[in-house]
């Protein structure tokens, strides 16, 4: 039990906040009936087993593999830290890391702004709202492989739809997926097209969670539209924003969009300009049969993601921001 007078290293009193949080946790603790516990195990069990078999076990195996040289043909030898030392000196790894970072930053920032913008536009009911939301959400339910193929056709040099559309601007000969200067930007564009509808839905849910009374009170106080957005919507959306940031960062670095879309649309080319970390891991594992090195890169990627999410959690207190939320 932390005494109420406990102070932190800077001398600030923290006892009150901690003890009130502790009280809340204690009041939430409830005794469950055995049948309820059984039901919980029954319902959560299949998911837990699935996670254990297909996520946690492979993840632990990958960590173990990172310390071995594995040929992929049954030959193993202990490698110690050599795979990690190799990473440090591998220019293609650093190239992939940079591409993943640029892609993630561009994607997360743009889809956040666009997703939120679309949510603000489609929050309130208007004629045709369902159609608009459906149209915006539809790309998200289409397979990324199909989307990759579709955009390859649309963006074909000289004869594609984009070439016809951009001909008046003299851009018909631009190879959006074949030119290293544009390929990564094009993938960001396609990703935003796919995911903006999904994040719009998440933001709409967050917006609808804000009580109307806040806005009514603000209107009575003469708050402008911008002030309502700045002082009511934005702070109230912080948990939703946290969720969007967290999931979109992970998706951009290690999700299907970082592999499926890239693999189908560019295969990491041209000239490695879209080689993300996950496509590089794939190349090492399945083209070079260097499973140990691929696992070591996966571990580095995992640690990087843990650090980023850890920082996010720390800065936002686990997405709660403060006790008033």
């Amino acid at each position: 039990m932390i005494p109420a007078s406990t102070a932190d290293r800077d001398g600030r009193r923290i006892g009150t906040a901690v003890s009130s949080a502790h009280r809340r946790r204690r009041t939430r603790r409830t005794r469950y009936q055995p049948r309820e516990v059984f039901a919980a195990w029954l319902l959560l069990g299949p998911d837990a087993i699935g996670l254990l078999l297909f996520l946690i076990a492979p993840m632990l195996l990958a960590v173990a593999f990172a310390f071995f040289n594995i040929s992929g043909f049954g030959q193993y030898s202990f490698a110690g830290l050599s795979n990690f030392r190799r990473i440090a000196a591998d220019p293609l790894f650093w190239n992939s890391a940079m591409i993943s970072a640029v892609y993630a930053v561009a994607f997360v920032v743009l889809e956040f702004v666009i997703g939120l913008g679309l949510a603000l536009l489609t929050k309130d009911a208007f004629r045709g709202l369902t159609i608009v939301r459906t149209v915006l959400f539809t790309p998200y339910v289409v397979s990324l492989v199909v989307i990759g193929v579709l955009w390859k056709f649309l963006l074909t040099e000289k004869i594609g739809f984009a070439a016809a559309l951009l001909r008046p601007f003299g851009l018909q000969n631009v190879s959006w997926l074949g030119d290293p200067r544009y390929a990564l930007g094009t993938l960001v564009f396609i990703s935003i097209w796919v995911y903006s509808g999904y994040y719009m839905v998440i933001f709409v849910a967050g917006l609808l969670d804000i009580p109307d009374e806040y806005y009514e009170a603000a209107e009575l106080d003469g708050a402008t539209r911008w002030q309502r957005l700045r002082y009511i919507t934005w702070p109230s959306l912080r948990p939703t924003s946290f969720f969007v940031l967290l999931t979109s960062i992970i998706a951009a670095v290690a999700g299907p969009q970082a592999f499926d879309l890239v693999f189908v649309a560019t295969q990491g080319g041209p000239a490695n300009s879209t080689e993300t970390l996950v496509t590089y891991i794939y190349q090492q594992a399945f083209q070079f049969n260097d499973f140990g090195y691929a696992s070591a890169i996966s571990v580095v990627l995992l640690i990087a993601l843990l650090v980023v999410t850890g920082i996010l959690f720390t800065l936002t207190r686990g997405g709660r921001f403060d006790d008033d939320d």
């Binding site: 039901a39 043909f73 369902t130 939301r133 849910a205 969720f243 000239a271």
Partner: protein
């Protein structure tokens, strides 16, 4: 789940035996009605039912042959157990449309199974998955690799160094070995032992659209014989809706395969004799890289091929996307009759750097290999040799029908003679055999790391605009660094083949 945020899900739990209710606030106003409620008993019943269904499905899948893995012929794609059939993996026999080369594999296994006790099960893998996907890698990594499978020259050392290629030498007779054209078996031989049965020779050449040539008021005598002429004619054939020329642009072993002839014609090579050190930073290599860069810089070649890649004639030349395309003999079998009628095409040999020099092509092709860890090793080797090197009349006909179905040149002398006597060899294939292939070199075999270094150099020069000299030097350093500690199967550089 899209549309429902966790923060909006409020669980209202009855302390006693009342119903467990979940109140969900949905983002769409019209969908905000409360969800149906369920009693705990109903939930329990549903949970038990679902778990039982999943468990039963898993059990059934596990008990079925191959654990539920579907193949084109409805059988397991995993390696056979000691008592099971011999598994064969190939990438031709797709269901729709089943082409002649796919039918050949089906006939092959049917014919073998009819006359042999050890049965073969044919497993189709898509070409993309076979060439650059995970199918083979995961199968071998999990110890369930196929008993018999196809290997390209580019991948030969990967499998040899992995110790999964069986030595076939002792099962081959001298007569069978002698039936192969000189040099053909060398690319699959390490330390005097043969590890793969070459199935075909696939030379590269340029295909051109006769219509495009006519439109540009050019005749066959104008077809390029030098690199300068290639760039010049390519520019003349380029128009707003079509490229004049197409080289492959996809990263990987296939692009390297198509680029090697230009390097050889300039007098360069990837590695020195014995494959001990790099020779990639030579002026000859730089000039070949420069040629490919020029085609992009001048706007006469696309940065991205249509369809599969540059090996796809139907999606590129026949669709009107380009007027000249570098491709292999296999392309003779591509395209519908309508497409070929609409875009009649011809072929010409790869131009050389200077007038009067000989054209050199790359002679690629796949071989049939046997998994050294197969539980049916002897039967699998017997099958692979029966399928490719059988000297009987039926065996020669089998190999001849494969060359015809695959639109490639046979690797065996007796088969070429039989094809010639039969007189049904397509005119295009005869041209490839008599004009394009002579003087060609076997596709070199390199470890994946060397393939990647070369590939990166080609990509950087061709598509990124990196100076050809810089691209070559960087790759050369990478190759040297790798070769200094390489201890696998011998690297076979450019070797002339007798075709």
């Amino acid at each position: 789940m899209p549309g429902i945020t966790a923060s909006r899900a409020e669980h209202i739990r009855n302390q006693e035996d009342g119903p467990i209710m979940t109140k969900l606030s949905l983002p769409f106003p019209h969908a905000a009605e409360p969800l149906p409620t369920f009693t705990r008993r109903q939930l329990l019943r549903a949970g038990v039912g679902t778990s039982a269904s999943i468990g039963l499905a898993t059990l059934l899948a596990a008990c079925s042959p191959g654990g539920g893995a579907k193949t084109s012929h409805g059988s397991s794609g995993t390696a056979a157990t000691g008592s099971g059939p011999i598994t064969l993996w190939e990438f031709y026999s797709q269901e729709q449309p089943l082409l002649a080369n796919g039918q050949w594999w089906r006939d092959l296994t049917a014919s073998w199974n009819k006359s042999h006790k050890a049965k073969v099960v044919d497993h189709y893998v898509t070409n993309a998955d076979y060439s650059s996907g995970t199918a083979l890698a995961t199968a071998f990594a999990s110890g369930t690799g196929p008993d018999v499978f196809l290997v390209s020259s580019g991948d030969f050392l990967k499998y040899y160094n992995g110790g999964v290629l069986a030595d076939l030498s002792s099962h081959l007779t001298k007569a069978q070995i002698a039936d192969y054209a000189p040099g053909i078996l060398d690319t699959r031989t390490v330390n005097g032992k043969i590890y793969g049965m070459p199935m075909e020779v696939a030379p590269l050449a340029f295909f051109y659209s006769k219509k495009a040539l006519d439109e540009a008021h050019l005749s066959e005598s104008d077809l390029p014989r030098t690199w300068d002429q290639l760039l010049e004619i390519g520019a003349k054939l380029t128009k707003p809706s079509r490229f004049g020329l197409l080289f492959d642009t996809s990263v990987g072993a296939y692009q390297n395969f198509t680029w090697y002839p230009f390097m050889w014609m300039a007098g360069g090579d990837v590695a020195g004799p014995g494959g001990k050190h790099s020779t990639f930073d030579s002026p000859e290599v730089v000039s070949a890289l420069q040629l490919w860069q020029d085609t992009i810089a001048k706007g006469i070649a696309p940065r991205k091929a249509q369809g599969t890649n540059g090996s796809d004639l139907a999606s590129n030349l026949l669709s009107g996307y380009c007027a000249i395309q570098q491709c292999g003999a296999w392309a003779l079998g591509q395209g519908t009759k309508e497409q070929i009628a609409a875009t009649p095409y011809g072929m010409f040999t790869l131009p050389s750097p200077k007038a009067g020099a000989h054209s050199i092509t790359d002679l690629g092709g796949w071989c049939l290999a046997v998994n050294a860890k197969s539980k049916h090793l002897d039967d699998a080797i017997d099958f692979a040799i029966w399928a490719t090197a059988d000297l009987s009349a039926a065996g020669v006909e089998r190999a001849r029908s494969w060359a015809a179905a695959a639109s490639d040149i046979s690797t065996r002398l007796s088969v070429r003679k039989a094809a010639s006597e039969k007189g049904d060899m397509p005119a295009g294939l005869t041209w490839f055999q008599n004009v394009a292939a002579p003087g060609g070199k076997a596709e070199p075999r390199f470890p994946p790391q060397v393939v990647t270094a070369v590939s990166t150099a080609i990509q950087n020069a061709q598509l990124k605009g990196v100076p050809a000299k810089t691209a070559a030097q960087t790759a050369s350093q990478q190759i040297d660094a790798f070769l200094s500690s390489y201890s696998g199967g011998s690297i076979a550089g450019s070797q002339p083949l007798s075709v």
